[in-house]
């Protein structure tokens, strides 16, 4: 994420390449940073993130990593409980089939990671999900 003007764009690209991105991937990331202030990259698993974050911070780029996915069954039950909802209410608010939700919470099936992201958004602000799913008549 861009935190200020990027007056050394080629240093940004070079540092991303040092971290393992191809020249084109680094260039595309740089373009996304200057055009939209954000870029998403797949970095090698063995990259030194602390070093990369420090180097990029000096170039006005903040490094953020994707949050690891929680264990679905416990996470879904925890979020639902935190908002004081029954399984039926929770399923209705998020547009799930209640039996599917029960299977996830019982660990019989695992939800897609995108489902967990939706639940994270709901957990942060249920109104965002409500406004996205429901419209006034």
């Amino acid at each position: 994420m861009r935190t200020g003007p990027i007056d050394q764009p080629i240093s940004v690209s070079r540092r991303l390449r040092e971290a393992g991105l191809s020249m084109r991937a680094a260039y595309n990331a740089l373009n996304a940073l200057v055009e939209t202030s954000r870029a998403i990259c797949d970095l090698p698993v063995d990259v030194d993130l602390d070093s990369l974050a420090a180097d990029l911070a000096a170039l006005n780029v903040a490094l953020r990593r994707r949050r690891p996915h929680p264990e679905p069954a416990a996470f879904l039950a925890e979020v639902r409980s935190r908002h004081g909802l029954s399984q039926r209410q929770f399923a209705d608010r998020l547009g799930f089939d209640v039996r599917t939700l029960q299977n996830w919470e019982q660990g019989r099936n695992r939800p897609d990671p995108a489902i967990l992201n939706l639940v994270r958004i709901f957990d942060r602000d249920p109104r965002i999900v409500a406004d996205a799913i429901f419209e006034p008549l």
């Binding site: 003007p5 191809s22 020249m23 084109r24 260039y27």
Partner: protein, 100 residues
């Protein structure tokens, strides 16, 4: 200029995408972008520039550099299309193309 000339001191490419460093004495400037040819015309698109600052380079040396580039890649026309800038007078915009 005391016999000093522009030189290419580093070059890297990935297909049409290239990164090149030019040096003129103790002044250097780097370009990163996509170079495409159309006959005797070349267009350098989405160009990011990193260098010593406009005041150190000067228009005269810049024009010398661009003449050097045209001669090096052997074209009659060169168009530079910059990437979105985050600094300068018009941040968050692409600068207008520069035809040479």
């Amino acid at each position: 200029m005391g016999g000093v000339e522009w030189q290419i001191t580093s070059f890297d490419d990935d297909g049409d995408l290239l990164e090149v460093t030019f040096r003129f004495g103790d002044i250097w400037i780097q370009f990163l972008g996509s170079l495409v040819f159309d006959g005797r015309r070349a267009v350098f698109r989405g160009v990011h520039v990193q260098g010593p600052g406009a005041n150190r380079l000067g228009l005269k040396r810049l024009m010398q550099l661009l003449a050097f580039v045209k001669a090096t890649i052997d074209v009659d026309e060169l168009r530079l299309e910059g990437a979105v800038r985050t600094t300068g007078a018009n941040p968050d915009r692409k600068p207008g193309p520069l035809d040479l």
